[in-house]
Amino acid sequence: MKILVPVKRVIDYNVKIRVRPDGSGVETANVKMSMNPFDEIAVEQAVRLKEAGQASEVIAVSLGVQAAQETIRTALAMGADRGILVVTDQELQPLAVAKALAIIAGRENPDLILLGKQAIDDDCNQTGQMLAALLGWAQGTFASKLVIADGFATVVREIDSGLETVRLKLPAVVTVDLRMNEPRYATLPNIMKAKKKPITSLTSDELGVDLVPRIKTLKVTEPPKRKAGIKVASVEALLDKLQNEARVI
């Protein structure tokens, strides 16, 4: 079984985002970048399937600027076998990413594509579902558990009302949620080994995919700030405020 894992380079989840004063976006200069946390979980799951003897090869794919290569290296250090980088300076939106991934899937013929459920920069939560649609495959979204057996993937999904189990025909797309696993840290020896693993670079022209965004971002602004509150000294004082000042209880 071959597994494809799309990994996105995003601003690290610990960074405090700053909106550019001119409204053109958020500040990305001199900001720590990392692999999207959900994609780490996807890589971890793929590597575990390989370690369990269920997968033969794990391929990490990223679309983005040249530096997205570092994100692929992280996946390789976690245990992926090789990488594919689609280099572009284009602003990327889920439909375009899904189209590029569909073409790569057509070339690589994976049995399973594991994505993050959501990129923590655009917060779109779309790419996996779009990719599954373009390939005509089943989709297991927001997965917290994944079992592969007999040509099927059994997926436990985190849904608004609890948990749901579905059985998907393979090949399939699965998007992972937070509780699927705890991703490993790459060890120094594995980081060294990853440097020797192959990464193929492609351009969107070579892929024959149109990456031009469909949606135009007119401006990016700061969210409204909450007024600073007060500290109360006791439960009694709190109750008094809630009843007589805020009047919410």
Partner: protein
């Protein structure tokens, strides 16, 4: 301009997320049709036809839609979408699984979790866990949108009278089958539409200790929420998670207990009207968004608060 709204329901009742999504449709303007697809029971169609602002109710009552399988629902919505300028779904686990699949099949983009309508083709949506707000414009011939329920006023459940039309099924596509579900049963109000939410974090320490919060919640008629850390630790079920990647809530009162206030958590609750934080660490970031902060040991403060609420006022 005509808008198709995809209803969120459990086959017997229309969920409140449908009403807020219809609220967003009203902001866009134009005729609004509502699609209820499922294996329907009871009087759901009749009830849905009474929702204010809906002129036509499309009922797709077929077994292939019984479990909200996106692979089965997508062909239905793709087929219907071609007669509309907009298709809206609530940003629920069902809507988020379905709408991108529909979008790709139509070769259009999808706009996730809008919080405002600027013009019929221009919307605002949070990015970076709500630390920035993007204003985006669509140029697609059909605009597909998921709607953040907390950002729009719900339309009234009754008072309208939509024409009812049944829609033929598109069959089971054979890709995905429903095996089972583990639903969290609770008598408490539903988290995303509750007037008061009492939420617990890692500081609660165990699932047993969550009973302290439950007692308080019951006193207040509140729903129970949680941080990711509390869910990860197994104190409470996944559907209680509030945050960037969990549920978005904006109740009149949010009481955060033993929650530090990470940005990913704030993303899910900072639009609450009044925020109370109970935390023993006076430097916890949650205090920066709290209207009323109480620096205290929760094991003392929570029972005290519950007790105080028992006293006649």
């Amino acid at each position: 301009m005509a808008i198709l709204v995809i209803a969120e329901h459990d086959n017997t009742t229309i969920m409140s997320a449908t009403l807020t999504t219809l609220g967003a449709a009203a902001c866009i303007g134009g005729e609004v049709h509502l699609l209820v697809a499922g294996k329907l029971g009871g009087e759901i169609a009749a009830a849905a036809a009474g929702i204010v602002g809906v002129t036509k109710l499309l009922v797709a009552d077929h077994k292939e839609y019984a479990h909200d399988i996106a692979e089965n629902l997508a062909p239905l919505v793709v087929h219907l979408a071609k007669s509309y300028t907009h298709v809206l779904a609530p940003a629920t686990s069902t809507g988020k699984a379905l709408l991108p699949r529909v979008a790709a099949q139509l070769d259009v983009a999808q706009i996730s979790e809008i919080i405002g309508v600027v013009a019929p083709d221009t919307f605002t949506r949070p990015i970076y866990a709500g630390n920035a707000i993007a204003t985006v414009q669509s140029f697609d011939k059909i605009i597909l949108i998921t709607v953040r329920g907390t950002a729009f006023e719900p339309v009234a459940r009754t008072g309208g009278s939509a024409l009812i039309e049944s829609v033929v099924g598109t069959g089971d596509c054979g890709l995905s089958s429903f095996i089972g579900q583990e639903l969290s049963k609770s008598e408490r109000p539903e988290l995303t539409s509750a007037r008061i939410v009492v939420a617990g974090g890692r500081g609660i320490g165990s699932s047993d200790n969550f009973k302290l919060l439950e007692a308080l919640a019951d006193k207040l008629g509140a729903a129970i929420g949680a941080s990711r850390a509390a869910v990860d630790a197994g104190f409470i079920a996944n559907d209680a998670q509030v945050g960037q990647t969990g549920k978005i809530v904006a109740p009149e009162l949010y009481i955060a207990v033993g929650i530090s206030g990470a940005i990913q958590h704030l993303a899910g609750m900072k639009d609450s009207k009044v925020i109370v934080a109970i935390n023993k660490d006076e430097d916890a970031p949650i205090f920066q968004v709290a209207d009323y902060g109480l620096v205290a040991d929760l094991f003392k403060a929570v029972p005290e608060l519950t007790l105080a609420l028992n006293k006649p006022r």
